[in-house]
């Protein structure tokens, strides 16, 4: 074995010191360049050391045609602040804003009401400005917040341990696949056809570099997910089966048979959730036997914000898998005086210690989004989350019933939470969504947009309904859809 050179205290100290940014421009008192870390002398010395005559020499591998020679043409010169504001307002007015029109978009990002108190709390300076505040001596507030966040995620998912968050749902999904390959020492992942295609895309992209085999499929357009077909694809080389719940078409089914089938083959069940509010009403993935549960946390506290930053959630059901988890983990401990305190724990899995053998190259977390999630969850409480979920489902049922009465429209799902799939006769759903937008209704996400060029899917439209949807919104969508579909 190799004994680390800096296993002692000096190693840790050096680690923390490495995170302290070097303040720019203080060397040589070079005030002219005070926001840049390098002086001309530094630059000359560095170029001399590597044997380059100029910085341009470092770019010779970029073909000349691809290089910018001089300023960008047609780029206007700077303007006054007022003129820029006026210009930006004009651009912003081209947007159709989620809160200003009937809004039924979902497919992995949901518009929920975020209480104003969430923003007020997360903008406290202690939370907002601190970067990687993980030294327990000075960061008990942040560490306690992460600990509470982990507890909330673990309970929501029906798991025992959750980490301090990942970048977003899709990267958390890949991390779950990677973890399953470590746990099982196998390299094949079976993806459900009803996994969000963007999540499947991230998994395929990452697998290109790890060499893992990804067996994916297209969603079957039918009232219930094809779990038997999924189970049939599990073999003895399978590391994990990845299932979304509720799935990309909004369908909900008992995943216990998939868990059983996976376990019988020595594979893990990974359950992906893109709408955490659903778990206020539906059985948790952990209760159905999922080994790893991951998902997107955006629905609670974060808001749509043009697609990011979002919040990846990651939890495991079996404590024996904890050491294979990616990311930061916050733990509870006692200080020298026996008082309750919080620390980062099991860090030996992580990149700053295990280097290339770390469980993941993620060495950070979505701290502020995790805080927003945690504050929103805390404000709701368990009873509040259940009420919120019930209200989402009530309105979604109203919408499904109303939309099913539109001629040429039928609801595919036999079960759903707050999102369901409509099958539209005649024109492709994508065209109808555009038509609806022209009528100032954001009517849903067409499967044709998510899966380009697949004829079997192009008449399906995903419709999401949340507590922010009004009965007037639903009526308006039904009326406009009736016109658009003609």
């Amino acid at each position: 074995m190799r004994i680390p050179a800096k296993a002692g205290a000096s190693g840790w100290l050096a680690l923390y010191l490495n995170e302290v940014p070097a303040f720019a421009g203080t060397r040589n008192g070079n005030l002219k360049m005070r926001y840049l870390p390098l002086t001309d002398t530094d630059r000359t010395a560095m170029l001399a050391k590597i044997g380059a005559a100029s910085v341009d020499d470092l770019f010779v591998d970029v073909p000349a045609v691809a290089r910018l020679d001089g300023p960008i043409s047609d780029l206007p010169m700077h303007a006054s602040e007022m003129a820029v504001e006026r210009h930006m307002q004009k651009l912003a007015a081209k947007n159709m804003v989620a809160g200003e029109v009937p809004f039924f978009l979902g497919a992995g990002a949901y518009r929920h009401h975020v209480p104003a108190s969430v923003d007020a709390i997360i903008q406290r300076g202690e939370f907002l400005t601190a970067y990687t505040p993980y030294q327990p001596e000075i960061a008990q507030g942040t560490l306690q917040m992460l600990f509470e966040f982990q507890t909330q995620v673990a309970r929501l998912y029906g798991c025992v341990v959750a980490n301090a968050s990942m970048y977003d749902g899709s990267t958390a999904c890949w991390e779950a696949v990677a973890m399953a390959t470590r746990v099982t020492r196998r390299s094949r992942a079976v993806l459900s056809g009803a996994l969000h295609p963007h999540y499947a895309g991230v998994v395929r992209t990452m697998a290109k570099f790890t060499g893992d085999t990804i067996a994916d499929a297209l969603p079957a357009i039918q009232p219930e997910p094809d779990l038997e077909g999924l189970i049939a694809r599990i073999d003895d080389d399978t590391a994990c089966v990845v299932v979304q719940y509720p799935d990309i078409l909004g369908r909900i089914s008992d995943l216990a048979p998939v868990a059983e089938a996976a376990h019988a083959r020595g594979a893990l069940l990974v359950v992906v959730n893109t709408e955490p509010v659903a778990l206020g009403a539906c059985k948790s993935p952990g209760e159905m036997g999922a080994d790893i549960v991951v998902g997107e946390g955006q629905s609670l506290g974060v808001g749509l914000q043009f697609g990011g930053p979002y919040l990846g959630l990651f939890a495991v059901r079996d404590p024996k898998h904890v050491r294979q988890m990616p990311g930061r983990l916050c733990g509870e401990t006692q200080d020298a005086e026996g008082k309750r305190g919080f620390v980062l724990t099991l860090s030996t899995r992580e990149q700053h210690i295990r280097r290339e053998k770390a469980t993941s190259n993620i060495c950070t977390n979505s701290g502020l989004c995790a805080l927003a999630f945690s504050v929103h969850m805390t404000l709701l409480g368990e009873a509040g989350l259940r009420q919120l979920a019930a209200e989402n489902h009530r309105l979604a049922c109203l919408a499904a019933d109303r939309l099913a009465r539109v001629p040429g429209v039928r609801v595919l799902n036999s079960a759903f939470f707050n999102e369901f799939t409509l099958i539209l006769e005649g024109k492709p759903a994508r065209e109808i969504v555009r038509d609806l937008a022209d009528r100032s209704v954001l009517g849903g996400v067409s499967l044709g947009r998510l899966y380009g060029g697949i004829a079997a899917l192009e008449h399906a439209l995903l419709v999401a309904v949340t507590e922010t949807t009004t009965e007037e919104d639903i009526e308006r969508l039904a009326c406009e859809l009736e016109e658009a579909i003609k």
């Binding site: 074995m1 004994i3 680390p4 296993a7």
Partner: protein, 123 residues
């Protein structure tokens, strides 16, 4: 029974064609309190010098290399619940795994007890 040592601080006992492998008293002292040991799978074929196990202390995680080439025949089940055995009895109850010996010749390149003592004194 013959005991050999590597310059990566593993010890190997050879008996009836099977090698038992662990880490040395010196190594456990350098690592400090050991909190977790990840062991190889029984049946795994591992080449000399390649990663066979991971030992985690409160200070660091370190790889344990296979001192010789062979197939893992048994791992120490006691380490799962009580990794501190590696601290209390590193060269005895705190053994890591047993393996076959693919090439007896590989043993010739290893140190004996006196050789290893001289090696660590020179560190």
């Amino acid at each position: 029974m013959t005991r050999y040592f590597t310059d990566e601080h593993e010890w190997i006992d050879v008996e009836d064609g099977i090698a038992t492998v662990g880490i040395t008293e010196y190594a456990q002292g350098q690592l400090g309190d050991i909190v977790f040991v990840e062991l190889p799978e029984t049946g795994a074929l591992i080449e000399q010098g390649k990663d066979a196990a991971v030992v985690e202390s409160v200070k660091a995680a370190s790889d344990v290399y296979a001192p010789i080439t062979g197939e893992i025949t048994e791992v120490n089940p006691a380490l799962e619940d009580d990794p501190a055995l590696v601290n209390s009895a590193p060269e005895d109850d705190g053994w890591f795994f047993k393996m076959t010996i693919a090439d007896e010749g590989e043993l010739d390149g290893l140190m004996d007890e006196d050789g290893y003592q001289a090696f660590i004194e020179a560190l």
